[in-house]
């Protein structure tokens, strides 16, 4: 029976195959186009290589606030019509801001390609001069509510507190993306316009179109719609080189409306372009990514552990290697920490087995393949690949690199990460504060 089925199903073609066209427009913008005709959908992704890491003191949170303002109208698209017109055409859109990038994205039926390019290019060409004081005032309120809403959930402050703790003052990731209350509240129209002029330049932008488009025609349309977006020199990013590091481990705590206590053990991980990035991801997967991983199994073996996992994140300047766990009420975080460190050092002392590596590789392979299915996530991959590798077709390369990694590479990469002092963040209910180590100071998020 099984043989019959195997015969009836052909082996897949190259799952990682990417057939994209890349062009640099005269104004400096990079464009990626790839035709995918499974559905009529087209994904548009505008990646602006500017994020909270590019903010100066006094303007913390401005990159994110400006992202909100970019939907408040441009010269030829009256207030809020961006969303209304695109929605009327069957499309949807959103945006996000991170440390290194602000991304605007949309998905729509192919018949709305011109409309989507018109809307996107109009704000690039004219939005800076169309910002209004009333929109700014309103969006300040919305962003402050966003911050309150996020911070009011039990673990809603953890990552921002970790960034503050792990990356020292002066590091581009020290201040959370959402910014400081004071700077968001005090944002001015002049400040927003200056930030726009400084950073919203085509030389910082990469546009991807993936979906039911004919590449030659689509590129022609992109050239046309963005032809009046003026050419400007790229701005130099004023990041300190090398990024500053703490000389000693940093300990901090948050008091939260929780019953159990959580411990985050964090280290500065490799940046996205670092050659060790895949080895560290492999290590995180072996250690603590789901059932069957060394740390992921702990909650099923030790009753006092509620959850445990390991994550690796990589920004453009630095990364984060994070081991997190929580314990039941009354249990000591010190006990959890000893177990987590034992597993971490265990990986260095007894390198991952072939079976562990194979499993982890397959998990990561899945994470490379799945995003290639949908136009929206595929557009994200193509942009990231072009930015990091200079080629939108990098998933296959990453898979080959993953296959070539051996246990010694994983050990070396992890050792390199944990040689740095790192940080500990304790998130505890108020009655546990007295039991914390004296080195832990309350982490303020101003």
């Amino acid at each position: 029976m099984i043989a019959l089925l195997a015969l009836a199903i052909a082996a897949p073609s190259d799952l990682f195959e990417v057939d994209a066209t890349v062009e640099h427009l005269p104004n400096g913008m990079k464009v990626i186009v790839e035709q995918r005709t499974r559905t009529d959908e087209v994904a548009l992704r505008m990646h602006l290589a500017v994020g909270s890491a590019d903010e100066d003191d006094g303007e913390r949170g401005l990159a994110h606030l400006l992202e909100h303002l970019m939907f408040e109208g441009s010269e030829n698209v009256p207030g809020n019509a961006f969303d209304a017109w695109l929605s009327e055409a069957g499309g949807e859109n959103n945006a996000s801001t991170a440390e290194d990038a602000t991304v605007f994205y949309a998905a729509f039926p192919s018949g709305a390609l011109d409309l989507a390019l018109f809307l996107e290019s109009d704000r690039w060409a004219t939005a800076g001069s169309s910002l209004s004081a009333s929109s700014l005032r309103n969006q300040i309120g919305v962003v402050l509510r966003e911050r309150s809403q996020s911070y009011s959930s039990p673990h809603g402050r953890d990552f921002d507190a970790l960034s503050r703790l792990l990356y020292p003052q002066g590091h581009p990731y020290h201040v959370p993306v959402i910014g400081t209350r004071q700077d968001v509240r005090g944002a001015t129209l002049d400040g927003a316009q200056a930030f726009f002029s400084r950073w919203y330049r085509p030389a910082h932008a990469t546009l991807a179109l993936v979906g039911n488009v004919e590449p030659t025609q689509a590129l022609q349309k992109v050239r046309w719609w963005f032809s009046d977006v003026p050419d400007q020199e790229p701005m130099e990013r004023s990041w300190p080189e090398p990024p500053p590091r703490h000389a000693q481990r940093q300990d901090g705590f948050l008091m939260a409306e929780v019953d159990d206590s959580t411990l985050h053990l964090a280290w500065v991980g490799p940046a996205a372009s670092d050659p060790d990035v895949l080895a560290v991801r492999l290590a995180a997967t072996v250690l603590g990514d789901g059932r069957g991983s060394r740390i992921g199994e702990l909650p099923f073996r030790r009753r006092f552990i509620r959850s445990a996992r390991v994550q690796a994140w990589n920004g453009e300047r630095d990364g984060l290697f994070l081991i997190s766990g929580s314990v039941t009420r009354g249990a000591r975080l010190g006990r959890l920490e000893r177990l987590l460190r034992r597993e971490l050092l265990g990986l260095v002392r007894s390198p991952p087995t072939q079976a562990e590596l194979d499993r982890a590789r397959m998990r990561l392979r899945r994470r490379l393949l799945d995003p290639l299915e949908r136009p929206q996530s595929r557009a994200r991959v193509l942009v990231e690949c072009l930015r990091l590798y200079g080629d939108p077709d990098c998933s296959r390369t990453q898979w080959r690199e993953l296959q070539a990694l051996g246990p010694e590479d994983v050990v070396r990469a992890v050792q390199r990460v944990i040689d740095e002092p790192g940080a500990r963040l304790f998130v505890v209910p108020r009655w546990e504060v007295d039991r914390l180590p004296g080195s832990a100071a309350l982490v303020e998020l101003p």
Binding site: F71, W85, D114
Partner: protein, 486 residues
């Protein structure tokens, strides 16, 4: 990790797509003409592959859909019985059985099973509801035979590890007794559920807290055996493979399973007899959460397409009147959304948002005004057009990935529908005229219909605002609310 999903600004009233929009045709040398937005080519619904239904034997039906080019194959086994048939209610034992079945088998420990699934890129999970129990497989097409063998193993030889039972018991009791009462979202969910459905309604059954303490492996094994021995089952396969090639393996997969018994009937109608307001005191927090629930058409109700258009215009995630008013005009909230739930015999519609606690009264006024306006005036032409286009585009995206395809065909087959019937629902939306949402609004958003309002926040600061509006609040402690209220 640190990405923030952001709700964006919206407006309908001020900016319908102008009638003077034009076709864009890039000339060689001139720049773009930005005076009017370019014309949009209308969207037409595409044809989707049909469902082929084959009865393997009494009690075992196979639905097959061949979708070309899908990387992963999807298989779902749906038993026509769930918690109601097996335990008479939403019970701890059934939930535990449904959640732990996929963790280990007699031949494989949890770790070995997780390892095997990862190694071959197999996803396999189980799920249970009041009316159904299901086992799902997603795997690379070329490994479908391996996936089906593993599915059979999980289906008939689950181990129900003791450590998993213990871990789930601990996490469920904690969720009900410790974590839930601290989370506004969980408290609102509980208040909406128990405030809307009476205790005797299947959906209003109070949490089985005692059951969680008593649940043991032997109960799960017994329920599992009962399920295999009594429930009818349907298999749905969505894959780039012919049914003929799959039938021998599907026969092996279902061997000895599936009985020609009646599936559990639809859940009865629910909803309160009169309006009520439930408040949950969260101490001195500055954020107040609010939810407003009203009755809505059932899945079979011919008013549903028109009401769904109203729902979209009022509380669609980005393009909605409520977002425009509360977020864009007043800056009160990061976002507000409405969601429509429809079952065979009943439906409800819920608006949810979070605001500063001192702006709660104003928020309620604005929501009420928008709902009232929609119920009296219906929709504007561009709002209806946007909804119609959205529905067609959503239809056209059904085959985007194996999971979207499986979700769509799974939804239709669960309701006993074929592709033509599903398509006719799209056509019903396309045929809507402006009068229909207005009629649905008058009928369903009438202020006399019973509604449930839930507020969570600082009682001291909320109470005066609600009293000012003549609302009498029934304050319930958060811990008690999680357990079903008084």
């Amino acid at each position: 990790m640190i990405f923030h999903a952001l709700l964006l600004s919206v407006s309908l009233a001020r900016s319908p797509l102008p009638d003077d929009s034009k076709e864009a045709s890039p000339p060689a040398s001139s720049g773009p003409d930005r005076r009017a937005p370019p014309a949009v080519r209308p969207v037409e619904p595409i044809s989707l592959p049909p469902i082929t239904t084959h009865t393997l034997r009494p009690g075992v039906v196979v639905h097959h859909v061949r979708v070309e080019g899908l990387r992963r194959a999807r298989v779902r086994i749906l038993f026509g019985q769930g918690a109601l048939a097996l335990t008479g209610r939403d019970s701890a034992a059934f939930t535990a059985m449904a959640w732990i079945q996929d963790q280990a088998t007699r031949g494989r420990s949890a770790q070995a099973l997780a390892d095997y699934k990862d190694r071959y890129d197999l996803d396999l999970w189980t799920d249970g509801t009041l009316r159904h129990h299901s086992v799902h497989l997603a795997c690379p097409l070329e490994d479908l035979d391996r996936g089906l063998r593993l599915m059979r193993e999980v289906l008939v030889e689950p181990r129900f590890p003791r450590s998993d039972v213990r871990t789930l018991r601990r996490s469920m009791t904690r969720a009900l007794l410790i974590d839930g009462p601290r989370r506004a979202g969980s408290v609102i969910d509980a208040a909406l559920r128990y405030g809307w459905y009476a205790p005797e309604h299947p959906l209003g059954g109070r949490p089985d807290i005692r059951g969680w303490y008593k649940v043991r492996r032997r109960h799960l094994r017994g329920l599992h055996r009962q399920l295999l021995e009594t429930a009818p089952l349907e298999v749905l396969v969505v894959a780039d493979a012919d049914l003929d090639a799959l039938l021998p393996d599907l026969t092996a997969l279902t061997e000895g399973l599936g009985h020609a018994s009646e599936p559990t009937p639809p859940l009865p109608e629910g909803g309160p007899a009169s309006s009520k307001v439930i408040g949950i005191d969260f101490g001195s927090t500055t954020t107040a959460s609010v939810a407003l629930r009203r009755p809505a058409p059932s899945y079979a109700d011919p008013e549903l397409p028109a009401f769904a258009a109203l729902d979209h215009a009022l509380g669609g995630p980005f393009l909605s009147r409520l977002n425009r008013e509360l977020r864009e005009e007043w800056g009160l909230t990061y976002g507000i959304d409405a969601s429509l739930t429809t079952r065979e015999l009943e439906g409800h519609w819920t608006i949810r948002t979070e605001v500063h606690v001192d702006r709660l009264g104003q928020t309620l006024d604005l929501i009420e005004a928008e709902v009232e306006r929609a119920s009296e005036e219906g929709l504007r032409e561009e709002e209806l057009r946007a909804y119609q286009t959205k529905i067609v585009h959503a239809w056209n995206r059904n085959l985007s990935t194996s999971s979207t395809a499986a979700r769509a065909y799974g939804r239709w087959t669960s309701r006993g529908e074929g592709v033509d019937q599903a398509r006719s629902r799209v056509e019903a939306v396309r045929e809507l005229t402006l009068g229909a949402p207005q009629e649905a609004g008058r009928l369903w958003l009438d202020a006399d219909r019973p509604a449930l309002l839930v507020v969570v926040g600082d009682q001291e600061r909320i109470d005066p605002q609600l009293q000012e509006r003549g609302l009498e609040v029934h304050w319930i402690p958060a811990g008690l609310m999680l357990l079903g209220g008084p």
